[in-house]
Symmetry: D2
Subunit: 494 residues, 4 copies
C-alpha cells in the first residue's frame, strides 16, 4: 500500500560529488539509567547522522511506567534539538535510530524505533542492517493473522517476538533472532532492560560505551565522543548484551564463528574519527592511500582529494609518494538544492554548485585525483572534467578501494548490478568513460594490507567484502525466490 | 505509549458558544466503481466535516491491484482539496473517514481508515461509533501475539478479521462483528467489494445513495446531496450491505431486533438538511421548538436563537408562540483563535470573539433564548450575560431537548457524569448558575412527540436516549471491569 | 515594479455565494492611553475583519519613545492573536488596519498602517477609502525627489505631510488633506497624539468610542462592542479629531457641507450589529425587506434568505408579507477551498461546497429568494438552480437594493462597468440570465424610505449612491486623465 | 522603528568554531544582456553565499519596461533555486545581493537591492560596504522631507540620487557618490544600464567578468567561475563602469589615488578559489602559513588546521616546517542547531556538535594548531581544550594573521573594541586565557610578505589594515559625532 500520512520533503538530489556514493541505511544508539536519556540520545544520533539523513526516532521509558516515542522525517537537528520535543520524551532509558531509506517508502510508519505492546510489556527495537529472509517470514506471519504496519524488515522481528510463546522476553528475542538471516545490529528497550545484539558474523558495527559507570550502545564510537563517554569494546559477533539495573550481562546464543565485519565501514561509511573493530578509521584510510601509492607509480605534480571522503587517502598517498597534497577542489558549504540551469551560454553548472576547482593549484599541473570508490561513475566524469577545465595537463584518477562489482544485501544501498560501472566495464572502458588519463584501483589484497593483514585469507576472509569479490557471507533466501523485485506487501491480494 | 510522529496543531479551544456542545466522533463515506473515487470521497467527507474536524483519511483501491492511503490531521479541505493529494489516490473504489478525537490521542496512527494486508488480501475499514468491549478484546488479542499500532477500538475489528480462520473475507468480517459490542457504522474496502455494516440496534447512522446506477455509503444524506446522488434508503440495523461489480447485496447475520437510533443525531449532530432515519432533521428541530412552545407559555417580546444550532427550534417556537424571531446574536465568521485578553478596562472578551449581541433587537426587551442542549452550562452563563449586557430586561432560557444526566459510550464525546450540569444540579440550581430569569427544557415525551410519536415507549423505546434517561441499550463490558479509566495501552507492562 | 518580498497565499476564490459581493477595502482602529493598546487593537481589528481579510497591521508608540510595527498578510487572528506578536508591540497608543486589496498588489509594502520618520518625529497612518487624484499627486511628488515604496494611495498622504514646510504636524496634516480628493477615513499616530479624520462628505465611516474615560476610533461600532466600549458619536464629515493627554479636540478645517455617507455600508458592508451614522444596520436591512414586500406582491409559500447577508431583509419581508421565513439554504461552516471537481457523473459541485439546499422546506414550494445585491450575477444563477434542483416549483428572486449600474472609486472593489450585470442588461434580460421566474429590485426611493426618508432628495442626496444613480459626489481627477488603466508606477521609465 | 513585517527564523548561534569569526556584510552581482539574467544571478549569489547568509535579493529589468524584485530572508538556495521565483523575475538585466546583518534589524525592508521610481525612471542599487557619514546625511534628507523605509545606509544613496537635480541619471549617481564617505562596492540597474562603482580606495572588492562577449560584475571571481565566465579585471578604486548595449564604459570621477583594498578579504572573507586584486587567495593563505613557519620555530609532531579556514595556512606551515599535516579536527556536516545540553554527566557539548577531535592523530602528540584569526577568543578556548581532551601533550596555537586590536567601520561586523581579545590582553594574557602552551601571531610585516611585498609601507600602506594597526583610511564622520551608538531612526521624535 502506498501511504502518505505525512509528506516528506523531496530527498535532495543535488548533482554533487556525493551523488555517487554508496549509502548506509542506518545508525542506532541506546542509553540506560541516564537522567536526560532523550537529550543524550539526540546528541548520539546527531553524531551518527552520516549513517542516515532521512528520518530519526527516539523511544524512551520513564519511571512512571510509560513508553514515549517521537519519530520524524528529516535530520536529527530538525526536530530533536528542540526542548519541546525532548520534553515529550521523559525517562532514563532510551533508544534511537537514524535512517536512510529507499525511494517511495519513506513514510513515518517505517521510521524506527518500532514499538509494540506485548503480553510481557512494551518492547521497542531499532535496527541497522538488512534481513535476507524478511519476505519469506512476513508471508508466514500474515498467514497467522499478524498485521504489518510498515514495509520495514524490522517489523518482522517485532512480530516474531510477539508471537513467541516463551514466557521471558529475552527468550522470545533469542527465538526471533534464530529465525532471521542477514545482517543486524539491534538495540531494544523494555521496561527493565536495554538490549544490544549483533548478527553471527558481526557484519554491521555496534559498540559499548561507558560514562559514570553507566552503559551506552552505539553504531560508532563518534557517538560516544560527543557525550564524553569512554569506548569499552565492540559488541561481539553473535553476542547479545543486556543492560539493566544489575549492570551489563552478555549472552552468546549462537555457535562460535569468526567475525566478518563489513569492509565498507572502513572505506566510506564510518566517520574518520571513529574506531571500528578497534581500528581508527582515519588511519586505515591513510593506509589505503599509502598502499595505493605503493601499488602505483605515477609521475605527477599534485595530489588532489575529492572532498571530503578522499582526503585521508590523499594525505597517505602524498606522504608515501612525496607529491604535494593540495586542495584542488573547494567545497561550498551552502549548497543544498539544485538551482535552475540557465539556458544561455552557461555550461552545465552541475557539480559546480557544490564544488569548484581551485585553479591556482591545478592549472598547468599533472593531477593525481584521489577518491574512495566508484559506484556508477557519473560524478567521476564531472570531477575529471572540472580538473581539465581548470587547466590540468594530465588527470590520473586513483581509487583507494577495489572495483565494486556486486550489489549488497546487508544494509548498504547499492544500485542494481547493471548500474555498477565496474560490473559491466573493463578497466580501460571505465577510464575512457570517465575521461581520465589513467585510472587505478587499490587491489583487494592491498586493502587487506591497509587493514594490517598480509592479504585476504581466501578460505576465511577477515571481512564481508562481497561487493568486490562476490563472496556473500550468508544465504540470500528472499533473493533466491523468484520475482523478488515484484514482491510487494500487497502482491497476493485476491 | 505517547507517540508524536507528527505534530497536530492544538485543537482550538476558543471560548465560544460551541464550546459546550456534545461532539460526534466520526463520519464515514464509501464509493464503488466511480471514476474519480478519491475526489468524490473528498467531497463527501467535506459534507460530513461537522461530524469530525480533527483528522481525515481516504483509502482507495486501483485496478492495478494496489491500495493507497492518505491520512491527515486537520480539515478535509486542508489536504484533500489538493490535486497532488488526490492524484496519490488512484482507483475507482474508496472509503473515507473524518474524526473527532479525545485529547492526547490525536496521532496519525489513529486516523482512519485503518488498513491491513490479510492472508485474503488487503482490507481497509472506517468506523463511526464506539465499542463497549474493546479493552477486553484487545487484551485477549495481545496475549495471542497481535501487535496494536493505535489506541483506536477500530483496530480491534481489524485484528479479529485477521485472526479469523474462515477462508472468505466476508465470513471473517461477520465473525468479527459477532465478537464486538456497542455502536458501529462501518464502511470497509477489499480489492473486490465495498462493505457497509450497522450494529444490531442501528445506533449510529448509515445511508445508501445512488448515482448513475452506482452505489455510495455515507453517514448522512448531505454527503449524497453534495455529489448530486439520490438517497436510496438507510442501512438497516444489524444489516451488512456488500457492493461489488454484481451490484448490491444484503446480509442480516444477527437475530431481528427493533432499531434504536441515537436521538442526538436529530437534536444536534446531523446537518439540518440531512434526512436521518428518513426524517428531515430541520423539520424535526422546528417541531422540537414547537413542542417547547406548547409545553411552556412565557410572555416575551422576541425569540432569539443561539446560533447556529438553535435557529430551527427558534423558528418553530416563534411560529407556534407568535413571538417575533430575531437574530439577537450575530456570529463573526472570522474567528478561530483565542486572542490575548487585555488586562485593562476590557471585560472578559470571551464569547464576544465569535459572537456579539445585536443590541437593537435585545435592548429593553423580554428575550426568549433558544438553544438545543446544555452540557456543562459554562457558555450558557456567558450568553445569558451577553443578553443582559445588551439591555434585555428578562432572559428566559429554553432548551429544545431534555436535561443531559448520563454520559454516552457509543461514540459521542460527553464529559464525565460529574461535569454534566443536569446530573448534579436541580432545575432551580441550574437556573441560578446560568443566571437567567427562567430555565426550561423540553420533556422526554415532548421530544418523542416532535419525532412523530405519542411519547416514549417505555418498554421498547424507539431511540437510544440514555443521555436523558440512563437507559443504556447494550451491555458496557469495559466499564463494568474495574478501573476502566486507568486502563492504558501499557498498563500491564512488567 | 512587481515585488514579492513575501509570498501571500492565494486569495481564496471559492465558488461560493459570497463570490459575487462587492468588497470593502479596509477598516481602521485606534486607541490612546490604554495599557494594552496592541491587544485591544487586535480585538478591534478582529471585529472589523469583515472589512478586509487580506492583510492586517498595527503600529504602537511606547513611553520609551519608539514606534513598533507589525504588518502581516492574512487574517488578524492568524498573527495578532499570538502573545509573541503582541509583545513586540509595546506602548499605550496604537492604530491598526485591515485591508482587502486588488489582485497582484498584495505585498507587504502595501500593508498599513504606513509609517515615516519625519522631521517632526514619527508619524503612522491608516486609511479606509480611496483617493481620486492619487496618481496625479504621486507624479508631482516623484518629480520632487520623493521615493515611493508602495502602490498605495495612502503613501501619497504620507509624502505630502513629509514635504510640508509647516512646523506643526497637525498643520502639515491639514495641508495634506487639502491636497487630496476622494473618500477617506484616516487614523494617524504621532508620539503625542491619536488623530482621526473623515473626508468632507463623510463617505467612509468612522466612530468615536469611550472606555474608562479614554477614547477609541473605529470604522464601526462593533469594534467598540467587542472591548466593551461605549459609542460616543460619529466623527463628522470633514472633521479632524485629536486625542491626546489633554483629552479630545475637534477641528473642522473644511467649509461646512452636508454629509453624504456611502449607502453600501447599510446594504452590505457593515456588520448587522453595528450602528452606522447612528442607525442600527440590522433594522435598516429588515426595513429594506419590508419596503421590498410593500413594492412587490408575490404569491409564494416560503421566504428563503441567501445566507448570511440576505437574512435580515428576508425576516423583514416575511414579517411584512406574512409568508413564512425558512432556512432553505444551509451554510457549511467548514469550507475554505475549492476541491477537485470529479469528472464522472457528478454535476458541477460549485456552490454546494459552501451551501446546500434544505430540500424539506423547498420541495414543491413557491420560493421567494432574498439577496442584498447583484453584481455580476454569476452566483445568482447557481443559487436559483440550487432551489430548482431541490424541487422548488417557482423561484422569485428579490433584491433588497436597486440595480448596480456604475462602478465605485471611493474604496469599494467593484468590477469594471461592463461586468456589472445591471449596467448591460435590462431587467428581463437579467431575469432570463439568472433563470428565475421573476426578478425584482428595491427602488431607489424604497431604499431611502428604509433609511427613514420619504425618498431620495434629488438636489441634495442624503447618501453617496452613485452605484445606483451614477451621481458621483466628487471630481474624479485620475479617471479623467487619459489611459488611467495603463498608468503604473513605472510607466514613465525612460 | 522596530518592524516585523515578516519573521525571520532566529539566526543560528551554534556554539561552533565559526562563532568567533569576523563577518563580511555583503556580496553583490550583476549581469546585462543575458537571456536568463535572474537564473544566472541566483547562481552568482550562491557562489557568494559565504559573504552573507541572512538575506538575498534580485532585481531584474525586462524588455517590457518593468522592474521586478524578489527579496527574501534566508539563503539564496532557500528561495532563488525555485523555478517559480525565477519566473517572477523576467528580463535580461539583473542585479543581486546577499547580506549579513546586525541583530535586530533583519527585516525585509533592509534586504537589497533597493529600488526607487525616480523622475528619470526606475533605479535599483545593491551595496557591499559601509558608509561612515550615513547618519549625518540621513538627518539632512529627513529635514528635506525624504521618507526612509529602512535603516540601511544604502537607502541614503538612493535618496541622494532621487533628490539630485541633474537631468542625467549617471550625473545624479556621481553627485551622490561625492556626498558619501566610507567603503562601497555598488552595482546599480536602470532601464538602460548596469552600473558598477568602487569607492576611491577600493576597500571592498568588485570584479568584471565576461561570457560570450557580455559583461558581469561580481564581488569575487568565484561567482564568475560558477557560470563559466572569464575574469577580465578588477573594477579600479574610484572607478565607475557602465555596461549598456554599447558595451562597457569607464569613468573615474574622483582624483587619482592609490588603491588600498581590505586585507581581510585575503585572510578570511574571500573564498580560497577566488582571485582578489589578481592574487589567488588559496596561495596567499598558504604563504601566510609559510611566513608563520619562518617566524616561529616550534618543535612538534603534527600540524592541525582549525577547519575549514585554517587549512591552507596549515598546509603552508607543514610544507615549510616539514611537520606532518593531519586532520586532527573533523567537521560534522550535519549541524545547524544547538541541541539541548543534558544535565547529567555529559561535559559541555559545545563545539563537539559541529567538530570533533580525531584522537588517533592527536593522542600523545605535540600539536601545532593553525587558525586564521582570533576575535573574542571564546572558541579558541574550546578548541584547545578539545585537543587536550583528545590526549595532545602540547598545544601550540598559531594564528596566520596579526592580533586584531581595532574595530572596523567599512562593512565588516566586528565586536566593540572592548570585546576584541587582543585589544585588551597582552600576548601572555591571551595565551593564559586560551589555555595553550604557546600562542603566536604572524607579524604585520609577515602578512605583507605573504602578499609579495617586503613589508608594510608605513607612509602609503598597500592595504586597509586598521584592524591590526588602527590606521583608518577615511574620516569617520558619524563616529565622531557624539552618542553615535544611541542614534536610531526615531531618536529625534518630539
Amino acid at each position: 500500500m502506498t501511504d502518505s500520512q505525512s509528506i516528506a520533503g523531496p530527498i535532495e538530489t543535488t548533482d554533487d560529488l556525493d551523488g555517487d556514493r554508496l549509502r548506509e541505511y542506518c545508525g542506532v544508539f541506546g542509553v540506560f539509567d541516564f537522567e536526560d536519556a532523550a537529550a543524550i540520545t539526540a546528541l548520539g544520533l546527531h553524531a551518527l547522522q552520516h549513517r542516515g539523513q532521512e528520518a530519526a526516532g527516539i523511544v524512551t521509558y520513564d519511571a512512571g511506567g510509560r513508553f514515549h516515542a517521537e519519530r520524524r522525517l528529516g535530520l536529527v537537528g530538525d526536530h530533536f534539538s528542540k526542548e519541546s520535543t525532548i520534553k515529550r520524551l521523559p525517562g532514563s532509558a532510551a533508544i534511537g535510530h537514524v535512517r536512510y531509506a529507499t525511494t517511495g517508502e519513506t513514510i513515518l510508519r517505517n521510521v524506527q524505533p518500532l514499538f509494540a505492546e506485548l503480553n510481557t510489556g512494551g518492547f521497542a527495537v531499532a535496527h541497522n542492517g538488512n534481513l535476507t529472509n524478511a519476505q519469506a517470514l512476513r508471508r508466514d506471519l500474515i498467514k497467522e493473522g499478524s498485521i504489518f504496519q510498515s514495509t520495514s524488515d524490522t517489523e518482522v522481528i517485532l512480530h516474531l517476538v510477539a508471537r513467541s510463546r516463551k514466557p521471558q522476553l529475552i527468550d522470545r528475542f533469542i527465538e526471533a533472532l534464530r529465525a532471521i538471516e542477514g545482517a543486524y545490529s539491534l538495540v531494544a528497550l523494555t521496561n527493565k532492560k536495554l538490549i544490544g545484539a549483533r548478527d553471527p558474523l558481526g557484519i554491521r558495527p555496534l559498540v559499548i560505551g561507558e560514562l559514570d559507570g553507566k552503559y551506552i550502545l552505539a553504531s560508532e564510537t563518534c557517538a560516544l565522543d560527543i557525550i564524553g563517554a569512554r569506548f569499552v569494546r565492540d559488541v561481539k559477533n553473535g553476542e547479545i548484551v543486556i543492560i539493566s539495573e544489575s549492570g551489563i550481562e552478555s549472552i552468546e546464543p549462537f555457535p562460535a564463528r569468526a567475525a566478518r565485519p563489513c569492509i565498507f565501514e572502513f572505506i566510506y561509511f564510518a566517520r574518520p574519527d571513529s574506531l571500528v573493530q578497534g581500528r581508527p578509521v582515519y588511519e586505515v584510510r591513510k593506509a589505503m592511500g599509502r598502499e595505493l601509492a605503493r601499488e602505483q607509480n605515477i609521475a605527477a605534480d599534485v595530489v588532489v582529494p575529492v572532498p571530503d571522503s578522499g582526503v585521508p587517502a590523499a594525505i597517505g598517498y602524498s606522504r608515501e609518494s612525496g607529491i604535494p597534497f593540495e586542495l584542488g577542489i573547494i567545497r561550498n558549504h551552502y549548497v543544498g538544492r539544485t538551482f535552475i540551469q540557465p539556458t544561455q551560454s552557461v555550461r552545465e553548472v552541475g557539480v559546480r554548485m557544490k564544488h569548484s576547482a581551485n585553479r591556482c593549484v591545478v592549472e598547468g599541473k599533472r593531477v593525481i585525483l584521489i577518491d574512495d570508490s566508484i559506484v556508477r561513475g557519473t560524478t567521476s566524469v564531472k570531477i575529471v572534467q572540472m580538473m581539465r577545465d581548470a587547466g590540468a595537463t594530465e588527470v590520473h584518477f586513483l581509487i583507494s578501494s577495489p572495483p565494486i562489482t556486486h550489489p549488497d544485501y546487508y544494509g548498504i544501498d547499492t544500485p542494481q548490478k547493471e548500474k555498477l560501472l565496474a560490473a559491466t566495464h573493463s578497466l580501460e572502458e571505465m577510464r575512457a568513460y570517465i575521461g581520465c588519463d589513467s585510472l587505478s584501483f587499490l587491489s583487494v589484497d592491498g586493502i587487506y594490507r591497509a587493514m594490517g593483514f598480509d592479504g585476504r585469507d581466501k578460505t576465511h576472509p577477515q571481512f564481508t567484502d562481497h561487493c568486490f569479490t562476490g563472496d556473500y557471507p550468508t544465504s540470500l533466501t528472499d533473493l533466491v525466490e523468484e520475482n523478488r523485485a515484484q514482491l510487494s506487501l500487497l502482491a497476493e491480494a485476491s
